[in-house]
């Protein structure tokens, strides 16, 4: 069915309605657990798992493993863009191939112990990788970033009040929060008081996190409602000029309260 340059797309229309119906199914959980919600939940899990499996096969397994072990074969049937010849040390890729096969033994009734070896290998590699990252970026670099001059000066040599306050706050917050997590000494006296200050800083941090989380969740709800009211029901006009509201300073004030 065509009218001018606009044409009806059945696949997009069905997709749109399915997206809207599944959104409503998921939101129906707010009223109470129900079969529609369960159905939508199962569909999400199933389709996500299927999608990830296919993507993993064609984007990772085929080009990065099969393409290294049998480049000519992969070039002929799947990826014409890759080089059809073996690279140097290509045989090293047999090691991950063997580990994959060993991992599949987990599905066997007996011989499950064989899968523990590749799992141990992956855990070891991951732990090592992460340790390097954390030590370099989160320990050393953060200690370095935490050592700041307590008294700050402007470019013209004058005393800079707020940067100095910031530097003091940073130092006090870092030290007191660390003291709170120092459980080898009983939290009494000076240590107890410092730990209490640390708790306050931690609570403020958690409060900020909570506020940010609320903002995130509301953004997600707003996106779904925009989809339902806009693309699905066409309740939202395509363009409205509310620029007059944008000039009202009181709105700006409320927003920053």
């Amino acid at each position: 069915m065509e009218s001018g340059t606009v044409s009806l797309s059945w696949s997009r229309t069905i997709g749109l309605w399915l997206a809207a119906i599944f959104t409503l199914f998921i939101l129906s959980f707010l009223v109470g657990d129900n079969p529609a919600y369960k159905f939508a939940e199962a569909m999400v899990v199933g389709t996500s798992a299927g999608y990830v499996m296919v993507i993993g096969l064609w984007d990772v397994f085929v080009p990065n493993l099969l393409g290294k072990l049998a480049p000519g074969l992969v070039q002929s049937f799947a990826l014409p863009g890759i080089e059809g010849t073996h690279q140097e040390f290509w045989w090293l890729y047999f090691i991950p191939a063997i580990l994959i096969v060993m991992l599949l033994f987990q599905l066997m009734p007996s011989g499950g112990w064989i899968s523990r070896w590749p799992i141990a290998f992956f855990i070891g590699i991951t732990a090592g990788y992460r340790m390097i990252g954390y030590v370099e970026a989160d320990l050393v670099a953060q200690i370095k970033a935490g050592i700041v001059p307590l008294i700050e000066f402007n470019g013209d040599g004058g005393f800079a009040l707020w940067p100095t306050v910031n530097a003091f706050l940073l130092t006090i917050a870092t030290l007191s929060a660390m003291v709170y997590f120092f459980f080898s000494i009983e939290h009494k006296g000076l240590v107890g008081k410092t730990a209490r200050v640390g708790i306050w800083f931690l609570m403020i941090t958690f409060g900020a996190s909570f506020g940010y989380t609320v903002m995130g969740r509301i953004a997600l709800l707003a996106a779904r409602l925009e989809f339902l009211f806009g693309k699905w029901l066409h309740f939202i006009p395509s363009q409205l000029d509310f620029s007059i509201l944008a000039n009202l300073d009181w709105i700006l004030l409320i927003q920053f309260m």
């Binding site: 707010l30 009223v31 999608y51 990830v52 993507i55 993993g56 984007d59 990772v60 080009p63 990065n64 393409g67 990826l79 014409p80 863009g81 890759i82 080089e83 590699i125 990788y129 992460r130 990252g133 370099e136 970026a137 989160d138 670099a141 953060q142 370095k144 970033a145 941090t205 900020a208 996190s209 506020g211 940010y212 989380t213 609320v214 903002m215 995130g216 509301i218 953004a219 997600l220 709800l221 707003a222 996106a223 779904r224 409602l225 925009e226 009211f229 309740f235 939202i236 006009p237 395509s238 409205l240 509310f242 509201l245 944008a246 000039n247 709105i251 700006l252 409320i254 927003q255 920053f256």
Partner: protein, 283 residues
């Protein structure tokens, strides 16, 4: 009143939240945004680069965070496109790849002069998280022998001279979790000194701020920062300001304002009920 509020069915609260979000959406109210220092830092990181700079954009999020992160991702795309930067897209999340496609659609529809392979290109998803980042910092082709269309990197004009991501002038990471900004900081920006900015979910934002300014050149935390970034772009590029599609994050700040007001009200009422209850010995 106390008994009424104490026994109030929580579904009324859900309904009030639904209305608090829906009414501003239906009324299409957009509030003005003042660009914060954080958003300005991110804007400057993209803006200060000369035309034709190499920018790697990693979309490490999926449809579950689309409502919060896609507006800022699209803002990055528009900003990089209007500046004429070379854009290299990738995703460390399997469902990040369709998110990248949305940005490529934006380029194709709004910047038809830009050409695939010359001005922008896309790598497919690769599993491995930090291992992928670690590898492409030294050997891009070892992990990505081909682009997403199955073309060898040596045949693509914008990738044939790229050995690894140390050749990038800026990394932009849009992150919803792990792998995400933390891994880019740990394995790319800190050890190799590659300038990196992050746009992340609100949940992650407080964990990312300590990385500023040495390990991250800026952070956009949640939809509020995305709206400020849009405002910063609008101030410099009137053609983007005139595009209603480029105001998505700003549009979503209307529901935020009303819903946050409701949330604050509910927290106050909840505490009042608690204190009255404690006074009466109900708690």
């Amino acid at each position: 009143m106390y008994q009424f509020l104490k026994n109030l069915d929580r579904r009324w609260i859900f309904l009030s939240m639904l209305l608090a979000v829906a009414i501003p959406i239906l009324s299409r109210i957009v509030f003005p945004e003042v660009v914060s220092k954080q958003a300005k830092m991110v804007f400057d990181a993209v803006e200060s680069l000369p035309e034709g700079s190499n920018i790697l954009l990693s979309y490490d999020f999926d449809p579950a965070s689309e409502g919060e992160l896609l507006p800022m991702a699209q803002a990055f795309t528009r900003h990089c496109s209007v500046k004429g930067h070379k854009q290299y897209y990738m995703a460390l999340w399997p469902l990040g790849s369709p998110m990248v496609d949305k940005s490529l659609d934006t380029i194709r529809s709004e910047y038809p002069d830009l050409e695939y392979g010359i001005d922008y290109m896309k790598f497919d998803y690769k599993a491995g998280g930090e291992a992928v980042i670690r590898m492409i910092t030294t050997d891009l082709r070892g992990m990505f022998p081909l682009d997403s269309q199955g073309v060898s990197l040596d045949e693509i004009p914008m990738t044939k001279n790229i050995k690894n991501i140390q050749d990038m002038d800026l990394i932009i990471n849009v992150s919803a979790g792990d792998p995400g900004t933390k891994q880019w900081v740990q394995f790319a920006s800190t050890p190799f000194g590659i300038t990196t900015v992050s746009g992340c979910t609100g949940v992650q934002a407080p964990q990312m701020y300590p990385y500023i300014p040495k390990q991250l050149a800026g952070v956009l935390g949640a939809i509020k920062a995305a709206a400020e970034y849009e405002a910063a772009i609008d101030e410099s590029y009137p053609e983007i300001a005139a595009n209603p599609k480029a105001q998505e994050a700003k549009r979503r700040m209307g529901p935020q304002l009303v819903a946050h007001g409701l949330m604050v009200g509910l927290i106050i009422i909840g505490n009042c009920i608690y204190y009255v209850g404690r006074k009466r010995g109900d708690v």
